[in-house]
Amino acid sequence: MDISVNGSQRAVAAGQTVAGLLAELEMNPDVVNVQLNGEIVPRSRFGEVSLKDGDQVEILMFMGGGAR
């Protein structure tokens, strides 16, 4: 099935989860935020939320830091 990731089309296996997609993309789930069709996916649900054909996924790395 085809989904959109950050605006680019990508083919993924049926039933792929958010966590599985991040693993495919070699992205560390601890330092990203994920939006699925405009809604933020809680990090605790990355492993259980399955993707559907036509889904729009946005993935952004954290923007953070600090003085100490």
């Binding site: 605006g7 330092v31 935020n33 939006q35 933020i40 946005e58 952004l60 790395m61 954290f62 923007m63 953070g64 830091g65 600090g66 003085a67 100490r68």
Partner: protein
């Protein structure tokens, strides 16, 4: 043969730079943060965003909803990520270990506004977190021609305001 490419600095108008500094002052004594978008290293918009870090006095984390919104607007406008800024309320304008650990955007200039002195100190860096490399780059304040100023504006994102 040419030498290594000189890292690009940040070109920004005084008006937009003042917007960055004012947002940092408002956040004091906590850290404040935001995003600068534009083209080819030149700032066109400043987004003053919400720091959602648990300990805001020494850490910043840009609110995820706001970050997604900025990236969507940036893509729709055909703009690029130019800089990520945050304040150091009580320390120098130099990246901390944490700043380097979390520098996931090598294409951006990392701007730090130190409020430790009598006047704000604004510095910019290119950070390569894999190599632990921090390279200072120039903050170039450009004059504002009427044509440029017309296109420039700042945006303040209120928490939960969308």
């Amino acid at each position: 043969m040419t030498g290594p490419q000189r890292p690009e600095g940040l070109r920004i108008s005084q008006t937009l730079l003042d917007t960055v500094i004012e947002h940092c002052r408002r956040g004091y004594p906590d850290e404040a943060c935001g995003i600068v978008t534009g083209f080819s290293g030149k700032a066109r918009r400043v987004y003053c965003l919400t720091n959602v870090a648990p300990d805001k006095s020494r850490r910043y984390l840009i609110d995820a909803r706001e970050q997604f919104r900025v990236f969507r607007e940036m893509r729709e406008a055909g703009e690029e990520l130019v800089a990520i800024f945050h304040s150091h309320p009580a320390t120098a304008a130099y990246p901390s270990q944490t700043d380097v650990d979390l520098a996931f955007y090598p294409q951006a200039a990392y701007v730090i506004v130190s409020l430790a002195g009598s006047r704000p100190d604004v510095r910019a860096y290119r950070i390569d977190r894999e190599r632990r490399s921090v390279v200072p780059v120039a903050v170039i304040v450009e004059s504002e021609s009427p044509d440029v100023r017309k296109d420039e504006h700042s945006r303040r994102t209120e928490p939960g305001g969308y």
